[in-house]
């Protein structure tokens, strides 16, 4: 069932009155990673903003969804438009996707509420909001309580979504006034090979152990081209440590780590990666880790579900043969 409720003008927008609500920002109807989980954590109520919101809301299949096209709305204008709509909602849950992480702080500041970032769970009871937060690169779990309403960003991969339901979908028309905002002049083409790393559920990472000490630049490049081909065959994205991207053997966008891309895949296959904390700090909480390294006591192998003690270069070649791929 689809219901259209149209409000025109900021003043006419009735505040939404549920106690919990997920807020999901979509682009061209594409849901970000973690959208369905955020909706589930908010009890199946979700507000979809951005472009292509009607189809995105339908795809979510939440019990109750609201959507508003805010195609070109920039953050300042949007946060001001949302305050009257959302001020009654005590728990607002954003997926910790790039857009969610970017906008949640503004809304928190505009509403004068605390921001509980990177939660693994969030709930509401008589005493207020309760959340578990992951800190210090996943090494610390903090349970916090908050007597006031709060804004939460929820890490992807922490819970299962609700089964799809044929819920009600309401359309809202938000009157977003121009705020003190930046103006988007152009959108540059993404590099399709690299843009998916952060959201990829499978990642094959390469480290210095793939490169022989005496290897020349061409050989090293070929090795990482092969790594990319193997990753592609496994339906995975290729990543690398900083040493590799600094050497120019893989693009900087592929660098996994505290100063590069943060990932949290289902599978991380680490080839010749020792596992320095700057690297593992960007791993989030991978569900399955396979490490291939000659050193059985290196940190990467120590945290692996399967650690294979062998030369990663030789194994890369073997995997390539098995999978029938070549780097060319």
């Amino acid at each position: 069932m689809s219901v259209t409720v149209t409000h025109r003008g900021t003043a006419a927008v009735e505040p939404l009155e549920m106690s919990r609500l997920a807020v999901v920002i979509v682009r061209a109807g594409v849901l970000p990673v973690g959208a369905a989980e955020a909706a589930a954590e908010a009890g199946g109520r979700v507000l979809v903003l951005g472009s292509g919101t009607a189809e995105a809301a339908a795809e979510l299949g939440a019990p109750r969804a609201w959507h508003a096209e805010t195609v070109d709305a920039a953050p300042a204008g949007l946060s001001q438009a949302l305050v009257p709509l959302l001020e009654q909602v005590r728990l607002l849950v954003f997926p910790a996707s790039p857009d969610g992480r970017d906008f949640a702080p503004r809304l928190a500041a505009a509403l004068g509420r605390p921001l509980l970032a990177y939660a693994s769970s969030a709930s509401l009871d008589d005493e207020g909001v309760r959340a578990s937060l992951s800190r210090l690169d996943g090494r610390l779990e903090i349970d916090v309580r908050c007597a006031e309403p709060a804004v939460v960003t929820l890490m992807p991969g922490v819970r299962s979504p609700l089964p799809p339901s044929n819920g009600e979908v309401f359309e809202l028309v938000l009157d977003v006034q121009p705020g003190v905002d930046a103006e988007r002049l152009a959108v540059l083409e993404p590099d399709p090979a690299t843009m998916d790393l952060a959201e990829s559920t499978r990642v094959v990472g390469g480290g210095a152990g793939l490169v022989a000490r005496e290897a020349d630049d061409t050989t090293a490049r070929e090795t990482f081209d092969l790594l990319k081909a193997i990753a592609a065959r496994l339906g995975a994205s290729a990543g690398a440590t900083r040493v590799i991207t600094d050497a120019g053997w893989m693009h900087h966008d592929r660098q996994i780590g505290t100063t590069g891309v943060t990932i949290s895949p289902d599978l991380y296959l680490a080839m010749g990666v020792a596992g320095a904390s700057q690297h593992t700090g960007g791993l989030g909480a991978p569900r399955h880790v396979v490490s291939v390294n000659t050193d059985p006591s290196c940190p990467m192998t120590a945290m692996a579900d399967l650690g294979l003690v062998t030369d990663a270069r030789a194994l890369l070649t073997e995997l390539a043969e098995r999978l029938g791929v070549s780097g060319a």
């Binding site: 594409v30 970000p32 953050p75 300042a76 790039p98 992480r101 906008f103 949640a104 702080p105 503004r106 928190a108 500041a109 505009a110 509420r113 605390p114 921001l115 509980l116 309760r130 959340a131 690169d137 996943g138 090494r139 610390l140 779990e141 903090i142 349970d143 309580r145 709060a150 930046a182 103006e183 988007r184 002049l185 959108v187 540059l188 843009m195 499978r202 496994l234 900087h252 505290t258 100063t259 599978l267 700057q278 700090g281 399955h288 880790v289 396979v290 291939v292 059985p296 192998t301 120590a302 945290m303 692996a304 399967l306 650690g307 294979l308 003690v309 062998t310 030789a314 194994l315 995997l319």
Partner: protein, 259 residues
């Protein structure tokens, strides 16, 4: 062009980082501390803009007394002066409270740009740019991999979900930079010596006009109920390659239903 760079002192990521048992705040006293790595890129970017067009670079840090070490490092890289907001009352402030306190100080400074690192290694919340934009009512230019500032206009290339966007705003504006933006310089010996005599203003909450009732642990809207250190991932199975390494990986991937 006058630029304020926000710099944070954080526990070294190599150090064993933990919370204090008593007040459940991050232990910043007993560990090695360093400048938050991405903040070095923010300082570098500010220095490059200043070197091209003139103006002044001011470092702004909120943190305990020992954060002076980090401020000195930024000054030794080439920043002109620094403001250190330091007060026991600020301890335990959350991100939103911190943005309130920093916003109060920024209101007293004259600047065209505020540059922050995209995130700090202790919290990884990556929120300060957006929080300050909302508070100060100035344009938000977050996630910059390239910054061009000219006259009253600043343009960045911003990494987004769907590629790169070229985004432009009028100054004053708030920018957060990603690591890919530049390669920070090392302080020279001359720079280190010069840093010792550069102006450093230390402000208490009173000096900065910050309402003590709105900051710090006592006023924090959320309280830590409990915390637990998660043990490092337990070691799984470690096997030597006996010529069947590829098979072992294939078997593992199959057993976990990846292939």
């Amino acid at each position: 062009m006058n630029i304020v760079v926000l710099v944070k002192q954080v526990p070294d990521t190599w150090a064993e980082r933990k919370l204090n048992e008593g007040d459940k705040t991050l232990d910043r006293a007993s560990v090695d501390v360093v400048m938050n790595e991405i903040d070095e890129y923010a300082v570098e970017e500010a220095l490059r803009i200043k070197e091209a067009q003139g103006g002044e670079v001011t470092i702004l840090t909120m943190g305990p007394e020992r954060a002076v070490e980090t401020i000195r490092k930024a000054l030794s890289m080439g920043a002109d002066k620094a403001v250190h907001l330091s007060d026991e009352a600020l301890k335990g402030s959350d991100a939103v409270q911190t943005s309130y306190a920093l916003g109060k100080v920024l209101e007293t400074l004259e600047y065209d740009l505020v540059i922050v690192g995209s995130e700090a290694t202790d919290s990884r919340m990556a929120t300060m740019g957006a929080l300050l934009s909302e508070r100060l009512g100035q344009p938000q230019l977050t996630g910059a991999r390239k910054v061009t500032a000219e006259g009253g206009t600043v343009t960045i290339e911003r990494q987004t979900d769907d590629g790169y966007a070229v985004v432009e705003a009028s100054t004053p504006a708030i920018i957060s930079v990603m690591e890919k933006i530049n390669e920070p310089r090392y302080p020279s010996f001359k720079g280190i010596m010069a840093a010792k005599s550069k102006p450093l203003t230390t402000l208490s909450v009173g000096d900065a006009g910050v309402d003590e009732g709105q900051v710090g642990l006592a006023a924090a809207p959320s309280q830590v109920v409990e915390f637990s250190n998660k043990p490092p991932r337990q070691a799984g199975q470690i096997v030597k390659d006996e010529g069947d390494g590829g098979t072992k990986i294939a078997e593992y991937l199959a057993s976990q239903k990846f292939v």
